[in-house]
């Protein structure tokens, strides 16, 4: 299925719910009119929050850089012995 259709369906469902609220006027309609704005703002906040949390929890691995350096030394030693040209070109 076209993926965009799923997203549109979701949006339509939310709009239908909103229109339902408008019609039923369970809560004052002046509030209901503002709901889409709240929705968009909270979507934006969700995005920023996720990015922020992701940044704070960004997994790092400094020890891996050290291990890689050891691997490079080991590899260079071996390859030099075998006559592969690994000198100089960095």
């Amino acid at each position: 299925m076209k993926h965009i259709i799923k997203i549109i369906t979701l949006l339509v469902a939310i709009s239908a719910f909103w229109i339902g609220l408008l019609q039923a006027s369970v809560i004052p309609s002046s509030h209901t009119w503002l709901l889409p704005i709240y929705f968009i703002v909270s979507l934006g906040c969700y995005g920023l929050l996720m990015v922020g949390v992701g940044l704070m929890r960004f997994p790092t691995c400094p020890q891996e850089a050290l291990l890689l350096q050891q691997d490079i030394v080991e590899a260079k030693d071996f390859l030099k012995q075998k006559g592969v040209d690994v000198g100089g070109s960095d």
Binding site: L55, P59, E64, L79, D90
Partner: protein, 254 residues
């Protein structure tokens, strides 16, 4: 257990490594692959795009050390891009599994056994390396790069629901037939290409598993991507959001 052992014996892994000006990195990479894949049948297919730094000379020297049947040089005359490099390498692959990895040592061969084990344990069609789970990680990125990466992932997850935690990583193991199928329907280039591959595979219903990997930014050589990556990314995202993904018959996979 015994069945697994047998499988392990008849499986062959073709490791496709695209290179452009990676003369030092490719030598180190080949050494590390041979170090970490001891009892596995594999071949390394290097797709070099006429690197001016003499990458191909080094590959010939490596062939002397390890054998021309283990290291295959499948060069192209000039820089034709990463996506087509995979297609080119795939044509020459003789294994029933294909591994795709970068030459710049950001993808460490020590993780290859865990890819292979994961595939054998789960029977997955694709095993993809992820940096964003426990045991994974990135080293050497500045704040901007981290911010872009997180932003890109949040956006893609909210809009595409891919079911995979690391969309832009490109260290992956595929069943050969699956890679052939997925790659033939991919149209984007560069950074977005990796994302398109995994999103399409997931839409087609292929079984995808993840293993944690760590990613250390390249030590030698220079990046070949870059430029207007963010714009390209947004275009790619819009494209993936809007296009049809036909439901194909995937029974051949089972």
């Amino acid at each position: 257990m015994e069945g697994q052992q047998k499988n392990k014996e008849k499986n062959k892994y073709s490791i496709i490594v695209p290179t452009y000006n990676e003369r030092l990195n490719i030598a180190l990479l080949v050494y590390l692959i041979f170090k970490h894949l001891r009892d596995v049948d594999f071949e390394i297919i290097v797709v070099d795009d006429g690197s001016p730094d003499g990458t191909q000379e080094i590959i010939k020297q490596l062939q002397q050390v390890y054998g021309e049947d283990r290291i295959l040089l499948r060069a192209r005359p000039r820089k034709l891009g990463l996506g087509t490099a995979y297609v080119h390498g795939l044509k020459h692959a003789s294994g029933n599994f294909v591994v795709i990895m970068d030459a710049d040592l950001s993808h460490h061969p020590k993780y290859l056994p865990s890819f292979i084990k994961k595939q054998l344990d789960t029977g997955a069609s694709i095993v993809t390396g992820t940096r964003y789970v426990k045991g994974g990680g990135v080293h050497g990125w500045n704040l901007m790069r981290k911010l872009t990466s997180r932003g890109a992932n949040v956006l893609a997850h909210t809009l595409l629901w891919p079911g995979v935690s690391d969309l832009t990583g490109s260290f992956r193991l595929y069943k050969k037939s699956v890679l052939e199928d997925v790659i033939s329907s991919c149209v984007s280039k560069g950074y977005v290409f990796q994302m398109e591959m995994i999103v399409r595979a997931s839409r087609k219903g292929y079984h995808i598993e993840e293993v944690p990997i760590t990613f250390v930014d390249r030590v030698y050589g220079s990046s070949k991507l870059g430029g207007s990556e963010i714009v390209e990314y947004l275009k790619g995202l819009a494209y993936l959001l809007l296009q049809w993904s036909a439901i194909r018959n995937i029974s051949s996979d089972k």
